[in-house]
């Protein structure tokens, strides 16, 4: 449709005509309301989210202990989502406990692999610093010190 040597005017006329043709034949939806609602209603064919059904495998009175453990796990998963707000508080406490336990664990198992000289130095240091977990001196390697409870 592009002809050589076409004037700019005739070009513009052609473009306008094309646009007109397109706008007449162009189909458009006459229902803006439907589009708004689309984001609000989700269609769903399964009953699981509607009725909060339990997990299908069950065992009673210890017939199958693995499944009983699974039951507890699965059914508490549904309730975990309700406790979202309290998680932050609980997480803080458990993090501290974890750090404390990890310190003691690393200390005790680490001592097993220390050479005798290091072990003696470590023991002296632990006796001096009773209350705080300070960084050990340059001689010994940096380790987690067991806090004196």
């Amino acid at each position: 449709f592009m002809q050589r040597g076409l004037d700019s005017q005739t070009k513009k006329q052609l473009e306008e005509e094309e646009k007109k043709i397109i706008s007449e034949e162009h189909w458009y939806l006459d229902l803006p309301d439907l589009k708004e609602k689309e984001s609000f209603i989700i269609e769903e064919r399964s009953f699981m989210p509607c009725e909060d059904l339990l997990y299908g495998r069950m065992s009673f009175k210890g017939f199958n202990p693995e499944i009983e453990k699974l039951m507890v796990q699965m059914n508490s998963r549904c309730k975990e989502e309700e406790i979202e707000e309290d998680d932050k508080m609980e997480a803080d406490v458990s993090d501290e406990e974890m750090a404390r336990r990890y310190e003691t664990l690393v200390g005790t198992i680490g001592k097993k692999f220390l050479r005798k000289r290091d072990q003696r130095v470590l023991r002296d240091e632990v006796e001096e610093d009773v209350n705080s977990n300070t960084i050990p001196s340059k001689k010994t390697k940096k380790k987690f010190l067991k806090p004196q409870d």
Partner: protein, 254 residues
């Protein structure tokens, strides 16, 4: 008719349920926790379809509604139709019991009670590799969930969840008894506080697997106990609570 008025009443296919105009959502959006959808979101469950005015009913049954909030997975109210049927239609995410009917090389064909057989790949088990194949024979019972289930494609099942763990799915062991009930009874039994299950659990130790396709597998220590449980579960559909309690009282008396 308005949707809220019909809750708990019988609705027939073709009824249009009108939804109220959505409240102003800007104020509510600020209060939401991260990741939650806007408050006005509505779950349109089985038996309902969306249409211009509101919801269109496609199955006959009772209309149910669940209120919004509560921290549950679907924030926002949910409407669905509680209908009764015996024939199962595969739905994605449903856990079902399937019977292995054929082994075609790397694929198992399972009968799930739908119009087509579902396929199950041998790699869809926990800890399965090309060398370490699961020991599945024709006639075995498998508890799995649907990965793909629509009217255009053959349903596919897997015995593994999204994190790669089996979480109870896989081959169901030896012995036990498989029988079929209607889908409505399964949903009743799987409801959060089901009296039938609670009462049965007091009787004697047993194991139960409920598939959303209407199949139940029961295993107890003796054949007699297994059959008693089977009979109670089958009869539960038509017994009232009183009759059930009487029957159970007689049994525990024995």
């Amino acid at each position: 008719a308005a949707a809220e008025e019909c809750v708990g009443q019988v609705v027939l296919p073709g009824d249009v349920l009108l939804l109220p105009a959505h409240p102003d959502e800007d104020a509510e959006r600020l209060r939401l926790s991260a990741g939650a959808a806007p408050r006005g979101r509505l779950l349109c469950g089985p038996g309902l379809r969306r249409c211009e005015a509101g919801l269109l009913v496609t199955k006959c049954g009772l209309l149910r509604h669940r209120q919004a909030g509560g921290g549950a997975a679907a924030a926002g109210g949910a409407y669905w139709v509680d209908s009764q049927q015996k024939r199962y239609v595969p739905v994605k995410g449903d856990h079902v019991i399937g019977i292995v009917t054929a082994k075609a090389g790397d694929l198992f064909k399972l009968d799930v009670g739908g119009s087509e057989q579902a396929s199950l790949s041998y790699l869809a088990f926990e800890g399965a590799t090309k060398r370490n194949r699961p020991n599945v024979q024709v006639g075995d019972l498998i508890y799995g969930q649907f990965l793909v289930a629509n009217k255009d494609m053959e349903p596919e099942m897997v015995c593994i969840d999204s994190s790669g763990r089996s979480s109870g799915m896989g081959i169901i062991g030896q012995d036990g008894f498989l029988f079929k009930v209607s889908l409505g009874l399964i949903r009743k039994l799987l409801a959060p506080k089901c009296e039938i299950i609670q009462e049965l659990s007091q009787l004697y130790p047993f194991e139960l697997v409920l598939g959303m396709n209407g199949r139940i597998w029961v295993k107890a220590k003796t054949v007699q106990q297994t059959l008693i449980i089977v009979n109670i579960l089958e009869a539960c559909e038509y017994m009232t609570a009183e009759q059930r309690k009487q029957a159970l009282a007689k049994l525990s008396g024995n």
